[in-house]
């Protein structure tokens, strides 16, 4: 299937000399939710801004639904909706006027029924005649989303959609994103909340220092890079790890009362049962066991810090 968004060899060097993107290649499949993760200044917003036509690329091409975003910008941009990171809205317009205006700006015929549907979905309908300036931050965020959806885009960019919004709104927003995906909208969101990516995304890309370090399906990523940690709480303290247990990369807690064993979740040769048997053979009693699977956050932190170290 042809990707809905296809980015190849995309580079951006700002006038200041900052190399924000280094030959990024990325393909987004129709109907997926793609999360772009990365620390601040990694190049997430630059990437989105180039696709949307706000920043001019230094080199490389972007095709949105088959249309080059530079040469065939009309067709390309008509398919894209953008919710920016900053809460930049008109102040004196009403919600209804600003959303209707966005629809027209993107070349769509007026359709009050559709605008009403969007506003209702975002719980904005009651506020339709309010001036945007009088709305709370969360409501303004919803207005930005409504504006982005006003022209029925097939690709939706959400740049840090839940930065600074309360828990309830975050849930609402996740709900909305899923509904949009069910309607066939492809969604690309950037975030530095890893739980958000973990919760929402079908695929995850990690970007750091302008390079895409990794693009992987979330499940595979979790499995591939996920570490499990087994902690054995001992009855009697140990002075040192017995030589009989040298086959396992164990670490002993400073008080000698716990053994930590870290292993890859998909490695079948780790031999946890064997370790247990060896422990009881040695007469080492344990009173408790717990295992922990690393979250996306751990994976992300280790990836970014690893690459950061390599860069230096």
């Amino acid at each position: 299937m042809r990707p809905i968004l296809s980015i190849s060899g995309l580079s951006k060097t700002y006038a200041s000399g900052l190399e924000a993107l280094k030959r990024v290649d990325l393909e987004i499949t129709k109907g997926e939710i793609f999360a772009l993760l990365g620390p601040n200044g990694a190049g997430k917003t630059t990437l989105i801004s180039i696709v949307c036509g706000i920043v001019t690329p230094t080199s490389g091409t972007v095709l949105a639904d088959g249309h080059d975003v530079v040469r065939d910008y009309r067709a390309a941009r008509a398919t894209i909706g953008l919710v920016p990171q900053e809460l930049s809205t008109d102040m004196f317009e009403t919600v209804w006027a600003t959303v209707s205006f966005s629809r027209g700006l993107f070349g769509r015929e007026p359709d009050p029924a559709y605008v009403e549907k969007v506003l209702r979905e975002l719980s904005l309908y009651d506020k339709r005649d309010d001036r945007i300036r009088t709305l709370s931050g969360g409501m303004k965020r919803r207005v930005l989303i409504a504006k982005a959806l006003a022209h029925e885009p097939t690709i939706l960019f959400l740049d840090e959609p839940t930065a600074g919004v309360d828990v309830e709104l975050r849930r609402d927003m996740w709900e909305l994103v899923r509904r949009l995906r069910d309607d066939g909208v492809t969604i690309i969101l950037t975030t530095h909340y890893i739980d958000e990516a973990e919760e929402m995304a079908d695929r995850i890309g990690v970007i750091n220092h302008g390079s895409l370090i990794l693009v992987e399906e979330k499940q595979k990523l979790m499995k591939k890079l996920g570490k499990k940690q087994l902690t054995v709480h001992l009855v009697e303290p140990l002075a040192a790890i017995p030589a009989e247990l040298a086959d396992w990369p164990l670490t002993l807690a400073p008080d000698g009362l716990a053994l930590d064993f870290t292993f890859d979740a998909d490695d079948e040769r780790v031999g946890v049962p064997l370790l247990m048997r060896r422990l009881s053979d040695l007469g080492l009693g344990f009173k408790d066991l717990n295992t922990r699977q690393s979250s996306l956050e751990d994976i992300f932190v280790s990836l970014v810090s690893q690459r950061g170290a390599e860069a230096r």
């Binding site: 700002y14 006038a15 949307c52 036509g53 706000i54 920043v55 001019t56 910008y73 009309r74 067709a75 390309a76 941009r77 008509a78 894209i80 953008l82 920016p84 900053e86 930049s88 809205t89 008109d90 102040m91 966005s102 700006l105 993107f106 070349g107 504006k147």
Partner: protein, 232 residues
């Protein structure tokens, strides 16, 4: 409301001061009563300053508040964006010019000899200076910069451009210097369309205004082509 009432009041004040208080002591200029003589100048004064301020604020505010992102990501060509912003700015100042004209007619006998030329000069000047304002609005990085060119350059040029006098009334040296002031040509041409008297030939006026229009157009074109202050 405020944008239409303000110029009406300002114009009325000008007529009280220049028309009645001073005008009664002034002789006719080129056969036109002083009060009526200043009408074209007054209209031009407002058109110039309003066009520049409409044009510059129109594009500066979205840049300032960040809402410009939507314009940049919209499927429209730069020329369409310019047409929209400049067209809106120019329309507002033309309406304003006509309101001032109507107000003036209440105070002094205004006679328009060439209505079509008058409208043409009005439209051309409003469009040109809205474009010029648009350039300032794109260039400015702060509210101070936004105001500085209108205040330090345009206002003095307008006042010294013969809004309230004919440059023939000046000593020869100043008359020659005045000819370097582009606003002289605008006011002169516009006044000709009212009273058929002008400081410089109407053809020259038209040519100068058109020249400035194309210079502004060229600059805007360059700004959009390079993404100046809009895209990095």
């Amino acid at each position: 409301m405020q944008s239409l009432v303000t110029p009406v009041i300002t114009t009325a004040l000008y007529f009280v001061v220049f028309g009645s208080a001073i005008g009664s002591r002034m002789s006719e200029v080129d056969g036109v009563a002083y009060g009526a003589f200043i009408v074209p100048g007054l209209i031009m004064l407002s058109i110039l300053s309003q066009s520049i301020s409409n044009g510059s604020f129109g594009i500066y505010m979205p840049r300032f508040t960040g809402t410009i992102y939507e314009l940049l990501s919209a499927p429209i060509a730069p020329i369409e964006a310019v047409l929209a912003y400049v067209g809106a700015a120019a329309t507002k100042s033309v309406v304003l010019g006509l309101v001032i004209l109507a107000t003036s007619a209440l105070f002094v006998p205004v006679h328009v000899a060439h209505p079509l030329w008058m409208i043409a000069f009005l439209l051309l000047t409003a469009t040109t200076f809205s474009l010029f304002g648009f350039i300032i609005g794109l260039w400015a990085e702060s509210f101070e910069q936004l105001q500085i060119i209108p205040m330090l350059v345009i206002t003095p040029l307008t006042f010294l451009g013969g809004a309230f006098y004919s440059i023939d009334m000046l000593p020869p040296v100043w008359r020659t210097i005045s000819l370097a002031n582009p606003v002289v040509y605008l006011i002169s041409g516009f006044r000709w369309s009212f009273y058929e008297s002008s400081d410089v030939g109407v053809g020259v006026s038209l040519a100068m205004t058109l020249a400035f229009f194309f210079v502004c157009l060229g600059v805007v074109r360059w700004m959009f082509a390079t993404g100046y202050r809009l895209k990095s």
